[in-house]
């Protein structure tokens, strides 16, 4: 189904929003804000935005850790205020300040993000199983990186999801590096999507810088999953502009990442590509673009103010959240 002009504009807004939040967090790290930690996702926004913007509210996602999940969770309906407040460890954050760089909002199908790579696979099985049991057409979109594709949990989960025909869309951000490890030294083939053949499910490669291409591939897999036809694997070829951990030196093995490579990829920046498309097709005028960009700057600054002005959680929360329906608490 072709996207309307309004939907294309929404994709643009969500990408600018995700980039704005990421840039704000980059500045916060540079300013030495102690609570803030970031795996920058700049350059990869099209994957989360294209995959999540038009999902149902009751669909589940496991966000990827790039951008601390900003592109994914904002597109799924999490407010920038709550996202940022969490990053400042505030009581108004999505995890009430306990997680800082993770987001939880079960009301829009986001339970959380793990601190270990590869558990998206095993946990998504449970959400897919719940969706299948409930029978209301919910799907799971489970994100992972090229690094995550090296985990053994991938095999157990992709195998079981295929055998049980679970409604799961496995979406890989192949940004070419797992920390400092280039994918060419960690995986023997060109395309991670080739793994799909081993599990008898469709596997497709898409241009991860083209948000519309990501949307179209994910939507086809979502339609398939909602129809009870089981899981799919989508590999998005994309690129990480910044270092593995913001504020730390970046490497390829023991050498610096080539600047020419970064510059080449920036020529295909996902926001830039969509902006040009919207302008060329006359969907938005330059003035509209500038207004949207300015509105997002204001929104992100307002969210930052909200985060900074919000209170820290008190230690009494520790007993409250350890167990559900706890009579006592930790001893």
């Amino acid at each position: 189904m072709a996207l309307t002009n309004q939907q294309l504009t929404k994709l643009y807004v969500n990408m600018v929003r995700a980039r704005g939040l990421d840039e704000l967090l980059v500045r916060a790290v540079a300013e030495g804000k102690s609570e803030v930690f970031l795996h920058s996702g700049q350059g990869e926004e099209a994957v989360g935005v294209g995959a999540c913007t038009f999902l149902r509210e009751d669909d589940y996602i496991y966000p990827q850790h790039r951008g601390n999940g900003a592109a994914h969770v904002i597109s799924k309906g999490v407010s920038p205020r709550a996202f940022l407040a969490e990053h400042y460890s505030k009581a108004t954050g999505t995890c009430r300040g306990l997680s800082v760089f993770h987001t939880s909002e079960p009301s829009v199908g986001i339970f959380g993000i793990g601190g270990t790579i590869g558990t998206n696979f095993s946990l998504s099985l449970g959400w897919g199983l719940a969706a299948q049991k409930r029978g209301k057409g919910q799907v799971v979109v489970s994100f992972f990186g090229d690094g995550g594709s090296n985990r053994g949990t991938l095999h157990e989960a992709m195998n079981l999801a295929a055998v049980w025909k679970l409604p799961i869309i496995w979406v890989c951000h192949n940004n070419l590096y797992a920390m400092y490890m280039p994918i060419k030294d960690a995986y023997p083939k060109e395309d991670i999507a080739d793994l799909a053949g081993g599990y008898g499910m469709p596997g497709v490669v898409v241009d991860g810088q083209d948000v519309v291409a990501v949307y179209e591939a994910v939507q086809a897999a979502v339609d398939r999953a909602r129809a009870g036809q089981g899981p799919s694997l989508i590999e998005c070829k994309t690129y990480r502009y910044r270092s593995h951990v913001e504020g730390m030196v970046d490497f390829v093995h023991a050498d610096p990442r080539p600047q020419e490579e970064i510059d080449d990829w920036k020529k295909r920046d996902p926001i830039y590509l969509l902006r040009n498309r919207l302008l060329e097709q006359g969907i938005l005028k330059q003035a509209n673009i500038e207004r949207i960009d300015a509105e997002i700057v204001t929104e992100v600054e307002e969210a930052k103010r909200f985060a900074i002005e919000s209170p820290f959680p008190g230690p009494s929360i520790l007993d409250e959240v350890l167990y559900a329906n706890a009579k006592g608490g930790a001893k």
Binding site: Y60, G93, T94, C95, R96, G97, L98, S99, H102, S104, E105, P106, F111, G112, G114, G115, T116, G118, T119, F121, S122, L123, S124, L125, G126, W127, G128, L129, A130, A131, K133, R134, G152, T153, E156, A157, N159, L160, V163, I317, E320, V321, L322, Y323, A324, N325, G328, A330, K331
Partner: protein, 320 residues
């Protein structure tokens, strides 16, 4: 009262809870046929959607259970051998234990990880462990170790109804043990220790299969020493109050558990006793647990796992 085996008690608890709540389902390797008979016969009543045979994929089983729990279901994941918790350690110790907490309490995780513990059968180092201490050590997991069919049924029903992740360990040697179990429904709350035998000279705190060994020793020593045997039944939450009350009466303590002695639960319970009843102690606390080796299969197993004579020696030591 009628007598049934521990595994029948578990089977009844599962059947009753699956009838009571459609959100309860079972998954694991060979559960339709019934590994250890615990889940046997359930598929005939509840169908393959609620009694799900899985491939040999422990991280998938545990992860599916954790995910389904947060998404509104109440899984009972049969991991078969407790040794296998290490295969799916990330799902159990990092996800089930922590996800409610680190995400601000926004979800419930009602699920049971069920597994068989224990040696004395020559099952070898990777099918004989009692990994209690690592579970008790991890905030966010409840831990249940029943020693009788009565406790097994009542505690399993409570575990299934609990809104938190529960690790439920049943000793292999107890699965066929017979015991009184009433026909009518009952549950047993967590955090309530059971005094299995009253005595006045020495308090023996024992878990799971060791409760039976301790009771046998207590009976053999009758006339020499009056031994009180306490089964905590759940280690998280731990009913330290009942143990301390007994220690205040006897002044002497032996703690028996089949997990490795070093950093084992015997150390934790001993410390908690000393923290609140040090002045009541009339002798140093003695611990009986597995020696600090992996568990050999075959002949040498007896030199690593705790034996009845070790409990006798420990009691004689504190009574000296």
């Amino acid at each position: 009262m009628r007598q049934i085996m521990m595994m029948q008690a578990f089977n009844e608890a599962l059947r009753e809870e699956m009838r009571r709540d459609e959100a309860v389902f079972v998954l694991g390797e060979g559960v339709q046929g019934g590994a250890f008979l615990v889940t046997g016969g359930l598929v005939q009543e509840f169908g393959t959607d609620r009694v799900m045979d899985t491939p040999l994929s422990e991280t998938a089983i545990a992860g599916a259970a954790v995910g389904a729990a947060m998404a509104g279901y109440r899984p009972f994941a049969d991991l078969q051998f407790a040794d296998f918790i290490f295969i799916c350690g990330d799902e159990i110790f990092n996800k089930a234990a922590k996800w409610r907490f680190i995400h601000g309490g926004k979800m419930k995780l009602p699920l049971v990880f069920f597994a068989a513990i224990g040696g004395y059968g020559g099952f070898g180092s990777e099918h004989s462990q009692c990994p209690e201490s690592i579970v008790m050590h991890t905030p966010g997991l409840k831990l249940v170790l029943p020693s009788t069919p009565y406790d097994g049924k009542g505690l399993l029903k409570t575990a299934i109804r609990d809104d938190n992740p529960v690790v439920f360990f049943s000793h292999k040697l107890l699965l066929a043990a017979m015991g009184d179990v009433p026909e009518e429904e009952y549950t047993i709350p967590f955090g309530v220790a059971d005094v299995k035998k009253e005595g006045k000279d020495v308090t023996v705190v024992a878990t799971s299969y060791q409760v039976h060994v301790a009771l046998q020793v207590a009976n053999e020593l009758e006339g020499r020493f009056s031994v009180e045997v306490i089964d905590p039944r759940t280690l998280e939450p731990l009913d330290i109050d009942t143990i301390v009350k007994s220690v205040e009466k006897t002044g002497r303590v032996v703690i028996v558990d089949e997990d490795t002695k070093r950093c084992g639960i015997t150390a934790e319970i001993a410390t908690q006793i000393m923290e609140s009843a040090f002045n009541s102690l009339r002798a140093p606390i003695q611990r009986v647990a597995a020696a600090n080796y992996p568990i050999p299969a075959g002949f040498l197993e007896q030199y690593v796992l705790p034996q009845a004579k070790d409990i006798v020696t420990a009691i004689e030591t504190v009574m000296r």
